[in-house]
């Protein structure tokens, strides 16, 4: 009997150790990737790298300025479309918990969240590129569709958590609906809304698939949103699959910058969420 209990306790501990080992093992590839990308990339990053544009194979001193500018412009374009729409839709869903339109709207957002990015790319290609040709703005539109569900969901979840007494206090002062929302509800939930916005930006900053046949890529610096434009993730893809070492080095440097950018956005989001939280 005693031996049996010992056996069971031993089995329990063994399982615990194995589980912890498996869980810890998940971190290994992440650390390996972070280490590899940063150590391979950081040495390629210098002033020329950030300020120059693509040079032909064999010429040294190529840079990724065109992709940095392009990424920022396309993300900016996507944000301009997605942030107001996303926050408004989040408000709509949190204010209408039971209506039929809200049900369908919520279902649509759920569906949108699961759609693979390449499919969004196809749709943007059909809608905009087929009639008008490759353009940065078509990339922005594709990315904005990917941002929407993230912003909507976090806005809705945040605003739903706010107590009803807050809205009532404002309504009782004769404050009109739009001001109750914009001056009381949104400021009180600002940390959650902002974190959704930042997460959505972090998410699309690394997206490549929807840009393959929308923003397409371009070897020069361009700020014309109606023309093709290079982006950081697309540049990495393009250079990574070439056999030329110079270009692969550029891709390492670019990966390093993209990775740091995305990680910083994620960390920054966590900090902002904590700092800006309104104490209820």
């Amino acid at each position: 009997m005693d031996a049996h209990i010992k056996y069971r306790i031993g089995k329990s501990s063994a399982f615990q150790i194995v589980t912890i080992l498996f869980a810890a093992a998940c971190v290994v590839p992440l650390l390996a990737i972070l280490y590899y990308i940063i150590s391979a990339g950081i040495s390629k990053v210098d002033w020329n790298f950030i300020t120059n544009v693509e040079k032909p194979v064999g010429e040294v001193g190529g840079g990724i300025a065109h992709a940095l500018v392009g990424s920022m412009l396309i993300i900016l374009g996507a944000s301009v479309i997605a942030i107001p729409l996303g926050i408004l839709c989040g408000i709509f869903l949190s204010e209408n918990k039971k209506s039929r339109l809200a049900y369908w709207s919520r279902l649509s957002v759920d569906i949108l969240q699961g759609v693979p990015s390449i499919v969004i790319g196809i749709v943007a290609y059909i809608w905009i590129v087929k009639p008008l040709g490759y353009s940065a703005i078509s990339g922005s539109i594709a990315l904005s569709i990917m941002m929407l569900p993230i912003i909507i969901r976090s806005t809705e979840e945040t605003l739903k958590m706010l107590p009803d007494s807050l809205r009532e206090a404002a309504f009782a002062l004769g404050v009109p609906f739009h001001r109750v929302i914009l001056k009381v509800i949104v400021p009180c939930g600002i940390s959650g809304i902002l974190s959704g916005v930042m997460l959505s930006i972090a998410r699309i900053a690394g997206e490549t698939a929807p840009l393959l046949f929308t923003a397409f890529g371009y070897q020069f610096l361009s700020t014309n949103m109606a023309k093709p434009m290079e982006t950081l993730p697309h540049l990495i893809f393009k250079y990574a699959i070439t056999p030329y070492k110079d270009w692969q080095d550029l891709a390492w440097g670019a990966s390093c910058i993209l990775l740091l950018w995305v990680l910083l956005l994620n960390i920054f989001t966590k900090l902002i969420t904590r700092r800006w939280k309104v104490q209820l």
Partner: protein, 330 residues
């Protein structure tokens, strides 16, 4: 009792506005009339705001419909020209106008399920460690944040790392096994995918495990159960639908993942003949060929792949959400 829009959002009738404040005291008259003017403007803005909210809500429904409709309409040329045989045709040769999608369906299924097989033990381990063994403390916080970071790394970076680091390792491994040492292929793709999808099942599983009522666990402990026995006989049975939903979400991610797979799968259009073979997934073939597909049927055949991908992921995600919804209601 269902209304299209909640009461609160239906604009109030405006004809009553004129009657408000009809008898202000003489000394406040100027002030009051100013107030009334401003308030009338406020009321118009309020109505406008309520309507904008409804329009934005409608817009989301319209967007999803538009996406689905676009994919269906653009697939019609391919459906007409190729029929249902498209889905089990084994040859994909755009030059000869032969389009069979089976190799890509197989590629997607093989990579996704292999990835799932590899990642599930790790996801569940993370879920159990964070949900049951160490729900608090800085070390588990660190683990939680690290696992979330796995989802944050851009897929093109996974692809590039896979290309530079993983493919050579797999090649050595294949040499030692005695299969053709390609490095690229289904196996490498599955490994990359397995890493990428860990966080989805892990974070959902963790929150499900944390929702197990303490009194259930305590009942088992009070009967002398060990920790492992509590996990096996209380926690896992209680959370099994939630864990299943997490696996579905991971699967949805794996099916649609594009860039990392495109970079390491080898991009051949032949039928894969094993897990070390090269191949293509639905997503990767779209990524490779849509931009240069100049023929109508060719283009449409690729869009049809997108439609299949869309429908499959929607169904999987919907089942996942339904299961979660059921679980959290109980």
């Amino acid at each position: 009792m269902e209304t299209l829009v909640d009461n609160d959002l239906i604009a109030r009738p405006d004809e009553s506005l004129g009657r408000a404040f009809s008898a202000p005291k003489p000394k406040d008259a100027a002030k009051a009339s100013k107030r009334i003017k401003r308030s009338h403007r406020q009321i118009r803005t309020e109505t406008f705001f309520r309507r904008s909210l409804i329009i934005v809500g409608l817009l989301m429904v319209a967007l999803v419909f538009a996406i689905m409709l676009t994919l269906i309409v653009e697939s019609i040329p391919s459906i007409k020209a190729l029929g249902a045989g498209y889905l089990w045709g084994k040859t994909w040769d755009p030059v000869k106008d032969v389009y069979g999608a089976l190799p890509f369906l197989m590629g997607t299924l093989l990579t996704s399920f292999l990835a799932l097989l590899i990642s599930v033990p790790f996801s569940f381990a993370v879920a159990i460690v964070l949900g049951e063994y160490y729900p608090q403390g800085w070390l588990s916080n660190l683990l939680k944040n690290m696992v979330e970071l796995i989802a944050a790394v851009p897929s093109v970076i996974y692809g590039f790392w896979g290309l530079a680091v993983l493919v050579p390792i797999v090649r050595t491994f294949e040499t030692s096994l005695g299969v053709p040492p390609m490095g690229y292929g289904i196996f490498s793709s599955s490994l990359i995918l397995a890493i990428m999808i860990i966080p989805y099942a892990a974070s959902l599983g963790r929150s499900m495990i944390q929702m197990v009522p303490a009194n259930l666990k305590e009942a088992a402990y009070s009967l002398g159960a060990t920790r492992w026995e509590v996990i096996r006989s209380v926690i896992l049975p209680y959370t099994k639908s939630g864990l299943f939903a997490g696996v579905l979400l991971s699967l949805g991610r794996a099916l649609g993942e594009t860039m990392a797979v495109t970079m390491v799968i080898g991009n051949t259009t032949l039928m894969p003949n094993g897990i070390f073979s090269t191949g293509n997934t639905m997503a990767s073939v779209i990524a490779n060929e849509l931009g240069e597909a100049d023929k109508v049927v060719y283009n449409s055949a690729l869009v049809e792949l997108g439609l299949v991908l869309f429908l499959v992921t929607v169904v999987i995600n919907m089942i996942g959400k339904k299961v979660i919804g059921k679980f959290t209601n109980e």
